[in-house]
């Protein structure tokens, strides 16, 4: 059977359904009549579907078909988690594709074992030190919060916007999905002359997930933003970010040629064809870091260009004259995206910067904290008190909370 005849069958199915409703236009009625006249089998089919109980009986049989076994089989072959029954919860480790799946499964197992327990390598005592709290301001963990800024400067608060169509920009529709994710859906060819730009930005204490018009998935960490055209055109897909973002770039063709995807992060540009990577470009961090999970990327910073391999991290420290390529702990790099804080011999100040961004608090330092390192992991959904208690468990530092201000001092 040819491609074209399958197209026709699907089209005819639509016409038959319309004919049952007496909703055929004059042209469609002629098309359907022509199809019936072509073969006796066609006419018979069209007549049979409205006769007797066949359709109702077949529908009933399909309704009674239990797909549980089929689902279990599919999910066990593909290694995806199987969700049974009516309830569906948001997956803990969200949306990993293909090769990354096995890695993600390993991460889930690790966390099931570790729970949200904090392991402090240097911990000598396990006496709980309460965090000194004065003034009763409730500090809550961050959540899915973001603002969409349209090309005309108008803004939509995404966390409170209702699901469904949020905005229409040129040919593109902006849709908030049921899980709170934002998706762009272009219906027609882009206007190459006048691209329309949107920006999604997260505040401190926010994070957000977006599907760009080409299907590329973007996870934005707190205090971050991404600017992109509502439709990609030409042979390059350019976006601009601040803060931290994780990308799952889809491969995309324009006139039969694979188009590049270019991320501009504070003057560092990352060029890819289709791959998964994380970019950390917070201006208050000590370096710009691009970490590749799979595929390949080309990084350009101030005229220096390099290719990095999966598992490697491009790192350009502030004030440095050249870049380094490291092999970091990927779990630690992607922890934020997976709803975790994970530290591996991480400096106290780096940890506190993350805390500041996620819990929307200001940190004040009383005394030097350099050289104080921590290792451990905890859920980003946990309260700040729990996290701070764990950090001061071995009595090397202590915290005092006043409203949204946290003072930290060495002991």
């Amino acid at each position: 059977m040819k491609e074209s005849s399958l197209d026709e069958l699907i089209y005819i199915a639509g016409l038959i359904k319309k004919s049952q409703l007496n909703e055929l236009s004059a042209v469609e009625a002629i098309q359907l009549e022509n199809w019936k006249n072509r073969k006796e089998a066609n006419r018979e089919f069209a007549e049979q579907i409205n006769a007797g109980d066949r359709f109702a009986n077949d529908m009933l049989a399909l309704e009674q078909y239990d797909t549980t076994a089929a689902e279990q089989r599919f999910f066990s072959i593909t290694g995806m988690p199987f969700i049974d029954g009516e309830k569906r919860v948001a997956p803990l480790v969200n949306i990993f594709r293909r090769k990354a799946i096995r890695w993600a499964a390993a991460a889930i197992i690790l966390f099931t074992v570790a729970g949200s327990t904090w392991y402090i390598m240097k911990s000598s005592r396990s006496v709980k030190q309460p965090v000194a709290v004065s003034q009763n301001v409730k500090i809550v963990p961050g959540g899915n919060k973001a603002i969409l800024t349209r090309s005309d400067g108008s803004q939509v608060i995404l966390d409170s916007a209702a699901n469904g169509l949020i905005s229409r920009e040129g040919n593109a529709m902006v849709i908030k999905l049921k899980d709170g994710k934002l998706a762009y859906n272009a219906s027609a060819a882009a206007d190459e002359a006048r691209p329309i730009y949107n920006t999604v930005s997260t505040p401190r204490g926010g994070q957000y997930q977006i599907t760009l018009p080409d299907g590329t998935g973007v996870w934005l960490n707190s205090a971050s933003s991404i600017t992109f055209p509502t439709q990609f055109s030409g042979n390059e897909r350019k976006v601009k970010i601040t803060g931290e973002a994780y990308f799952e770039v889809t491969s995309h063709l324009s006139k039969g040629i694979k188009t590049k995807f270019i991320v501009d992060a504070e003057g560092t540009s990352i060029t890819v064809l289709g791959t998964h990577f994380n970019v950390n470009a917070y201006t208050d961090e000590e370096a710009i870091k691009a970490t590749l999970i799979e595929g390949s990327i080309k990084v350009n910073k101030g005229g220096l260009t390099t290719m990095i391999k999966p598992g490697e991290q491009f790192r350009y420290s502030n004030g440095a004259t050249n870049y380094e390529v490291l092999r970091p702990d990927l779990e630690e790099v992607l922890a934020w995206k997976n709803g975790k804080f994970i530290f591996r011999n991480t400096g106290a100040i780096t940890i506190l910067r993350q805390i500041s961004r996620w819990y929307d608090v200001d940190i004040h330092y009383k005394g030097a904290l350099s050289g104080i390192m921590f290792s451990g992991g905890i859920s980003r959904k946990d309260n700040i008190e729990k996290l701070l208690e764990l950090l001061q468990l071995d009595e090397r530092i202590r915290f005092e909370i006043k409203g949204r201000e946290i003072t930290v001092s060495p002991k």
Binding site: M1, A13, G14, Q20, A70, E71, I77, D179, T211, G215
Partner: protein, 197 residues
């Protein structure tokens, strides 16, 4: 049953490989494709194997589909081709006289009409699945199982009036939700039956 995913967002969610989207796809299409495969293979175990493989292959290739039309084409074509291949290898093993019976199901017109019918069934399934669970149950009992309002009322422990209301609302919802997108097989059945709500 399928709360997080519907026909509109399934494609977007497939792109990000969300298992709920795959579950939706399997729940809607597996029974329809199984029925189709069974028509050709006349063997339940083989039909299940073939259709299972169709979904796994779709997942492996991770074809980036832009619209439902492409997904449907993939599902129907892959199921048909796998069935025919399975049939041919079986034919080689078996006695010649059996291939005569198989010639019927390998006829292009017969296959084409089966795909056409599968498509009508699948689209109707999607429409019915968009109804709220209780209403869906009433609807299926009324229009597919052909139970009377009284029978449904007793069966689901509802009042007669509630059953009538649910049926009327279901029809109204189907009319409303389906009209702009595609035509309305479910409503068509309802009209054909000339049911009295």
């Amino acid at each position: 049953m399928i709360s997080a995913v519907n026909d509109h967002n399934c494609l977007l969610l497939l792109k990000t490989n969300e298992n709920a989207a795959w579950q939706y796809l399997i729940r809607i299409y597996f029974p329809v494709l199984f029925r189709f495969a069974h028509k050709i293979l006349k063997d339940e175990g083989n039909a299940e194997d073939v259709v299972s493989d169709v979904f796994v292959k779709l997942w492996q290739q991770h074809a980036d589909f832009d619209d439902w039309h492409q997904v449907k084409k993939y599902l129907y074509t892959a199921t048909r081709n796998s069935c025919l291949n399975a049939l041919r290898s079986k034919q080689r093993e078996k006695a010649r006289h059996e291939s005569f019976a198989n010639a019927y199901v390998q006829n292009e017109d017969v296959l084409g009409n089966e795909i056409l019918y599968s498509e009508i069934l699948a689209e109707t399934r999607k429409a019915v699945y968009e109804l709220p669970p209780k209403m869906r149950e009433v609807f299926i009992l009324a229009y597919f199982k052909k139970m009377t309002n009284e029978e449904i009322a007793v069966y689901l422990n509802l009042s007669n009036q509630t059953v009538r209301n649910q049926k009327a609302t279901a029809l109204a919802m189907l009319r409303k939700s389906l009209q702009p997108k595609f035509s309305l097989p479910v409503l068509a059945i309802a009209l054909t039956l000339k049911d009295l709500c």
